[in-house]
């Protein structure tokens, strides 16, 4: 009983330390979050004025806008993670870790700042303008695609996070993140197109199907939007999002384990 109380006290003080450090990082990166919020709110606020009002025929009227604004969201996430890599590289982290802040607490607070906060800021910038305009729209539009979007963002964040922890290089973290965001989807889709064309069928070749499934796992949100035009793949958008989420969790768990046992500052 005494040991349990002691453990609870330890975990409570650990949470307080994480909260304090998270708050500190937020203060440091306040400007970046404000830019994210400003851009997302501006684009969504203006674009909902021009929503098509014939939404029974349009499954997700916001999808066309979020497809573009999600780029800002993911870039913000990568930027925050790369700031952690910079901390580790220039040994600023040593300063924080010289306080009674464990490595796992340090990494965990960065994880909250890089994944949770951008998601929260972005989701509020999507949903609140709609809610202000007409709360009923929130129910009638359906925000299923936002779930897919957050999982895709989580994948980007976890990939950048593990890169930052392993390499401690801000440049490489940014490069991997941007490569995943801007280059890889086109490379994969070109691969699918080439394989489909070479097999003289429309996406019917097994290799094209496999590549499309890889695309679906890496980019569940984009795949979800594309599946409206019924692209044949080996997996459904829901399966893709579950696998993507599992891989992201695996990446994050591996990063935290690495930080706990192997990270040297």
């Amino acid at each position: 009983m005494t040991s349990m109380l002691k453990r609870l006290r330890v975990s409570r003080s650990s949470l307080r330390r994480v909260a304090a450090h998270t708050s500190f990082i937020h203060d440091r990166l306040l400007k970046s979050f404000l830019v994210l919020s400003l851009l997302a709110a501006l684009i969504h606020g203006l674009s909902i004025l021009f929503l098509p009002h014939t939404s029974p025929s349009t499954p997700s009227p916001l999808a066309f806008i979020t497809m573009f604004t999600s780029l800002i969201y993911v870039i913000a996430m990568i930027y925050v993670v790369s700031s952690m890599a910079q901390d580790l590289r220039d040994r600023t982290a040593e300063l924080y870790l010289s306080q009674p802040l464990t490595r796992i607490e340090y990494a965990f607070s960065w994880l909250i700042t890089s994944v949770v906060t951008p998601s929260l800021v972005y989701l509020s910038a999507v949903a609140l303008p709609v809610a202000i305009l007409d709360p009923h729209l929130l129910l009638s539009f359906g925000f299923e695609e936002l779930g897919y979007l957050v999982v895709e963002g989580l994948f980007a964040g976890s990939l950048a996070f593990i890169t930052a922890v392993l390499t401690r290089s801000r440049g490489l973290t940014f490069f991997i993140g941007l490569f995943w965001l801007l280059v890889l989807p086109f490379v994969l889709m070109m691969g699918v197109a080439v394989l489909s064309f070479s097999s003289m069928g429309s996406h019917q070749s097994p290799a094209a199907k496999t590549l499309l499934s890889v695309f679906a796992v890496l980019y569940p949100y984009k795949f979800y939007l594309m599946s409206a035009s019924s692209l044949p793949a080996s997996i459904t958008p829901f399966q893709a999002v579950v696998i993507s989420f599992s891989i992201s969790v695996l990446f994050l768990a591996a990063s935290l384990q690495y930080v706990r046992y192997r990270l040297e500052v």
């Binding site: 306040l30 979050f33 004025l49 014939t54 303008p129």
Partner: protein
């Protein structure tokens, strides 16, 4: 984190205030094309051809503060010089759009349109019925060489049918490919437009190779214009206040500790 979320809420609320302020002074119009299949009938009455096109308009998803209207764009086709077996040298087009409630259209007008004969009397009867049952009507005006546009027709609740009546007044002179001017009239007494096809030149009663060209293309547009309501402004104010409260909480909380280092050590 509270400060970041609070500031985001304030930014979002201010952005919506800005949008409402702009919408208050300058009317925003969001336009979307309604892709509905249109039923079309082509009739030849006297010296003119009449095309009746009816398009169903489902009730739009109503958003608070928006007012809705429909308008039509008419592309009558290049009928001033129809190339092929013969030429019609000139043609005047007049068109009118009628907005009719779907129920009234189905009970009072649909049957009439289907059973109409090629006669001026039937066309006049249809016009009369349309004027009696339409909740709004608008004349088309020529915008470009190829396009005519109607005025906005305010949309009430429920489903509607937009009926577009296009009248083509043909020039009575028809020129054959060899340059011969052949007729004062190109319409038979029963109202059928005589058309000369490539194999049978001027055989009376050979009918309507012209008619496919008289299929005007009608695009129906739904227009939503925003006038901000008090509810919308109050909701934006709610979000603004919520953001301010979150920042205040964060401020009060952080005042209790001087620095993050102090907090971690405590």
């Amino acid at each position: 984190m509270l400060r970041v979320v609070g500031l985001s809420l304030i930014v979002i609320a201010l952005m919506m205030f800005m949008v409402f302020a702009v919408a208050h002074y300058h009317e925003f119009k969001s336009t979307s094309y309604l892709h509905r299949s249109a039923d079309t009938r082509v009739l030849f009455a006297g010296t003119k051809a009449v095309v009746v096109s009816s398009t169903s308009i489902s009730a739009p998803v109503r958003v608070e503060g928006y007012q809705y209207a429909v308008k039509a764009e008419l592309f009558p086709g290049d009928i001033t010089s129809i190339q092929g077996p013969f030429q019609v040298t000139a043609c005047n087009v007049t068109a009118k759009a009628y907005l009719v409630e779907e129920k009234a259209f189905n009970t009072k007008l649909k049957g009439v349109i289907i059973s109409m004969e090629h006669s001026e009397e039937d066309v006049a009867r249809l016009k009369n019925l349309l004027e009696r049952h339409a909740s709004g009507e608008a004349v088309f005006t020529k915008v470009t060489y190829f396009m005519y546009e109607s005025d906005d027709l305010p949309l009430g609740r429920g489903d509607y049918v937009l009926v577009v009546l296009v009248e083509y007044f043909f020039n009575e002179t028809v020129t054959l490919p060899n340059g011969t001017i052949v007729a004062n009239r190109v319409v038979l007494p029963n109202g059928t437009l005589i058309v000369v096809n490539s194999t049978a030149i001027m055989q009376p009663g050979v009918r309507a190779t012209l008619s496919p060209l008289l299929m005007p293309h009608v695009e129906v547009l739904l227009i939503g214009s925003l006038k901000p309501t008090l509810g919308q402004v109050l909701r934006a104010l709610d979000v603004l206040v919520l953001g301010a409260v979150l920042i205040a909480i964060d401020y009060v909380r952080s005042r209790r500790h001087l620095s993050w280092g102090f907090r971690i050590k405590s």
